[in-house]
């Protein structure tokens, strides 16, 4: 029987795993080691700025153990979505860490760097051809949106990874890649069933997120065969049950039965989960429906200005009972102050002041069913945004003082209506970004949007 063993080192490179769990995985002789390195989950700042989410120290520790483990058994190591956003900066960052480890530890390997950042002229051509289509929901797309994006990545499937392995790559550091592709590539290359390969990959991609009680990020292994796969966490104190494994297709996924991949859809409607023992689970009946035309999902982020924040609280009952009109009036009355401060060069459309009210609807916004209930105090989070860093700083400084003393009709005399927990009251947070794409491209081939470079390390 065809069996391909796939070791997932951890849910995210840089978040850690137990050395003992990973070592046990290596002893079981996997055919490939994989680890995801990114996500959109913590917001647009990583893709937009190209800055990593996890520390260099934590990432280096994890990558070193993976490179040493790989070296021991000479199998491919695939790390995807390097640097978190998966842009070219992220691949370069991970490459430099890998080269440093290789030097320090005396490791040799053939390295493939698979970059996924997109050429804007290529995207505009595909847009014109009608070969970029929106997912639901999606913001509007145009040449202008493409031009003003600071980074756009395409999410690669298994094909560019398989191509790199066919070209002799022993270590692959990939840009943005679908989490599942990292783990499905080698089983698919070795001819296991596509349904089990993709479903196992979905279970593996978050490391030990599919166990009953996750203690920490850690290593997990799948045995992928023709018509089923088995999955078992590498820490002997951690358990998978049929329910815990079945539940994992719910996580971060809109539909718990169907998972869309670049070249098709994983269908778990018919999946049956069986306990092999108190730690391992067998899954049969997963299907993969190949799409007629493969699609590559785009992720884009654009610069949204420079931002400062002001945190404050209000306890005074007279202010709380007229909170919205008080906040609205202070913003309106602030307009002429900005006008005079900038000598008429800055109008109300040149900056944005937004306030979030904690204790009312600060967490849920328009989804909050209890927005009419306000307690005895509220927290205020002001965000001040403009195109220039200096402008944002000047407005934030001035507005904090202006808001502090903004009057209410009930009191005669100067009030101080906001409790600031910090001095100065404002914090500059630098550039901010926003996601601006939720679209797919229909390329001619699954490789054309990705660029591979080989290095002999």
């Amino acid at each position: 029987m065809n069996e391909v063993r796939v070791l997932s080192a951890s849910g995210q490179i840089g978040s850690g795993f137990l050395e003992s769990s990973f070592a046990r995985g290596i002893e079981l002789k996997p055919h490939v080691i994989g680890c995801d390195g990114g996500s959109t989950d913590s917001g647009p700042a990583h893709l937009g700025s190209g800055k990593p989410h996890f520390s260099r120290e934590g990432t280096k520790r994890d990558l070193k153990l993976m490179l040493q483990g790989r070296n021991r058994i000479n199998v491919p190591l695939i790390v995807g979505s390097c640097g978190f956003g998966g842009g070219d900066d992220g691949v370069d960052w991970m490459r430099d860490i890998a080269l440093e480890i290789a030097r320090e530890e005396g490791l040799k390997f053939r390295l493939a760097l698979v970059r996924s950042e997109q050429d804007k002229a290529y995207l505009k051509k595909r847009l014109k051809e009608g070969r970029i289509t929106p997912l639901n929901p999606a913001p509007p797309i145009s040449d202008d949106v493409i031009d003003r994006s600071s980074h756009i990545v395409g999410m690669m499937g298994h094909e560019p990874l398989a191509d790199a392995i066919e070209h002799g790559a022993q270590v692959i550091l990939a840009g943005r890649a679908s989490d599942t592709s990292l783990f499905a590539t080698v089983p698919l290359m070795k001819g296991t069933g596509a349904g089990p390969a993709w479903h196992a990959a979905k279970i593996l991609e978050c490391g030990t997120a599919c166990v009953v009680q996750r203690k920490r990020p850690d290593s997990i292994m799948a045995w992928v065969r023709d018509d089923h796969f088995d999955v078992e966490p590498m820490d002997m104190d951690v358990h998978c049950t049929p329910q815990s494994v079945a539940s994992h297709t719910l996580y971060e996924n809109a539909d718990p039965f169907l998972i869309t991949e670049p070249d098709g859809t994983v269908d778990t409607h018919g999946a049956r989960y069986e306990a092999l023992n108190d730690r391992a689970v067998r899954v049969r009946g997963s299907q993969f429906h190949r799409a007629e035309r493969g699609t590559i999902k785009l992720e884009g982020a654009e610069f949204g200005g420079y931002q400062a924040i002001i945190i404050g609280g209000v306890r005074e009952p007279f202010i709380i009972r007229q909170l919205d009109s008080w906040l609205q009036a202070m913003k309106e009355k602030f307009v002429p102050r900005v006008h005079e401060m900038f000598d008429g060069r800055l109008g109300p459309d040149d900056y944005d002041i937004h306030v979030r009210v904690y204790g009312r609807d600060g967490v849920m916004g328009k989804l909050e069913p209890l927005a009419h209930q306000v307690g005895h105090e509220v927290g205020l989070l002001f965000t001040i945004t403009s195109a220039e860093e200096g402008t944002t700083d000047a407005i934030a400084k001035t507005f904090a003082h202006f808001a502090l003393h903004y009057p209410i009709p009930e009191w005669r005399g100067l009030i101080s209506g906001i409790a600031f927990p910090m001095a100065p009251a404002y914090v500059n947070r630098g550039p901010v970004y926003r996601f601006n794409l939720n679209h797919v491209v229909t390329p001619d081939t699954p490789l054309e949007m990705f660029r591979t470079e080989y290095l002999e390390v």
Binding site: S42, P44, N136, A246, S247, Y273, R356, M364, F435
Partner: protein
């Protein structure tokens, strides 16, 4: 009368990408799962009403093997945009915890 939060093993919300929000209501036992389904207190319509979103935007799933009810909606604000107060989408499930389930 019990609350949904007392019957479930886990109620959570999370992003499913930057444009979608998803809610999982997961049970330990088949009894609790089936009882909540049968009570009809968590449906596409009741969710739409509680969260004040159009019913046709609500995806509703019952997953028997996972003993879980899953609901997905478009995010009210794109993740990380100015108006978004929950980058991971992890605190949007709170109203579900308080749903009353008749015995």
């Amino acid at each position: 009368m019990a609350k949904l939060g007392d019957l479930a093993r886990l109620i959570r919300s999370k992003n499913a990408g930057p444009f979608t929000l998803t809610f999982d209501v997961m049970f330990e036992s088949d009894n609790a799962y089936q009882a909540v389904l049968a009570a009809n207190v968590l449906t596409k319509a009741s969710f739409a009403k509680l969260y004040n979103v159009p019913k046709d935007e609500v995806l509703f799933f019952a997953h028997d093997t996972a003993k879980a009810i899953k609901i997905s909606i478009p995010r009210p604000y794109v993740q990380g945009d100015r108006d978004d107060g929950d980058a991971y989408g992890g605190q949007q499930h709170a109203p579900l915890v308080e749903i009353e389930v008749p015995a």
